[in-house]
Amino acid sequence: MIVAEEVGVQFFFNRHMRVVTPGEARLRGQGLTTWGLRDLTFSIERGVGTALIGPSGSGKTTLLRVLAGVYTPDRGRIEIRGRVASLLSIDAGLLALLTGRENALLLGVLGGLSRRSAMRALGAVKARSALGEAFERPVLTYSQGMKARLGLAVAEEADPEILVLDEVHEALDHEFRHFLQERARALIEAGGIVVAAGHDHPMLASLCSRALWLESGSVRQHGPFEEIQPRYLEAVRSA
């Protein structure tokens, strides 16, 4: 289950509009602050896929990063019950100079597995990623689809209960999209949660029964996907 109460994420900018940390903002004493998310309140039950929809800059990626633990809220509270796996970019956290095997070990350990468990899991990750011999090659030689397959295979090793996806499925080939859809559906059927953002609404509709419409970092509407999505599209057209 995911429960967010008045969650806010703040960004600090220097005078050149580069994002800086609060420490640097204090050090330099000038610049701007803005809220990437403000007063976000919602909950997602187990066994539900939720699509984040909204225009670019509405806070979809920021919210997914909060769910993945990449950002921590600067205001409010978020409760996440369950192990989270995330695919927030095509790179999927992979380091280009390391091989598939080395990345799988590194990300497995950083994701919370013991070294021994991560080592033991390498065979399964290799099989699930279907990379074959490429598993031993540096990731910089991989296509986007190969990276995503490896990223998902590593993420699944932690036996996630919550899967967070950010537009990655939109840049990939049909075979991987189909594979990802199957994995996401299986997770939802098993009582897990999928939260996905993107602009490919048919794809989102196939994964998600609910939609969270974000606008300027706030929730505009939250409800069944088939109700929220047409309203969002209507708002886009009328704008």
Partner: protein
């Protein structure tokens, strides 16, 4: 999944039913695994893979300082006792601190894809930077041994103090790494200046000659530089075969503890925002 220490605004699921001691041991074991994984990946970047990996590890310090030591030992006719060994005893501990700082200042960029995709124990990044440089440093110890052989300096039992000296050296490097990561993001445009400043500290310590050969007027002042104690401790252990004086360990140790006291809390607060700025 492991989580960073929750901020006041973030609640995470607690793992129930586990006692404090097993939980602590599990956390310590997890930290060791994370440190090992981060350090190994750094070393892969540095030395690559394949048969030349070992040769690169061995030759890197020679390329970095070995040539200079050869110059001092065989070409220049410098006064003093074993000038090449004396210089090695300063340059090599300095390299551990210096390279850790350089590594730390770029470590966030190196790990950008991970920082943007998942949460992990980011508090361990500075320690991993120091451990990576310790691996490189271990091969440069061979240069000290080579210098001892060249000058005919036999080791004494006091060489057993070396692990303690190394520990202080490593602690100073780790403390500097916490500061370096923060300066690396706060003062991106001044990174080269920070490196030059640290390099200047080498010359503001008895790096080129032992403390005993410096002017008495500035000797007490030089002692305030934490590197001075380190250099002298290395010389005591490897060159003079004596036990390091307590000030030689206490001064750099105090400097490390002060740096840690200042920068660890700052780092803890700032690391929550690293993914926003990489």
């Amino acid at each position: 999944m492991n989580r960073e220490a929750p901020s006041p605004g973030r609640a995470t699921t607690a793992v129930g039913g586990e006692g404090a001691v097993p939980g602590l041991l599990r956390s310590l074991g997890g930290s060791i695994d994370v440190l090992r994984a981060l350090t190994e990946s750094d070393i892969r970047f540095r030395y690559g893979r394949g048969p030349f990996r070992f040769a690169r590890w061995l030759l890197d310090p020679v390329a970095l300082v070995g040539v200079y030591l050869i110059l001092v030992t065989f070409v220049l006719d410098l006064p003093g006792e074993a000038p090449g060994l004396s210089l090695a005893c300063a340059v090599i501990p300095f390299q551990l601190v210096m390279l850790t700082i350089a590594n730390a200042m770029t470590t966030l960029e190196l790990r950008r894809p991970i920082l943007l995709n998942m949460t992990f124990r980011r508090m361990l990044l500075p320690i991993s930077a120091a451990l990576t440089e310790s691996v490189a440093f271990s091969s440069s110890l061979l240069l000290i041994i080579a210098m001892m052989a060249i000058y005919g300096v036999a080791p004494t039992w006091n060489i057993l103090w070396f692990p303690l000296v190394l520990l202080v050296n490593l602690l100073l490097a780790i403390a500097a790494a916490y500061a370096a990561i923060l300066f690396g993001i706060w003062l991106r445009e001044l990174r080269a200046f920070v490196v030059s400043f640290v390099r200047a500290l080498f010359f503001l310590a008895p790096g080129l000659v032992p403390l005993a050969e410096t002017s008495e007027d500035v000797r007490d002042l030089l002692r305030l530089n934490p590197l001075t104690g380190l250099f002298e401790a290395y010389r005591d252990v490897f060159m003079y075969g004596t036990r390091p004086a307590s000030w030689e360990l206490l001064f750099p140790l105090t400097a490390a503890l002060i740096l840690l006291a200042i920068f660890v809390p700052l780092y803890r607060s700032e690391q929550r925002h690293f993914a926003k700025v990489v």
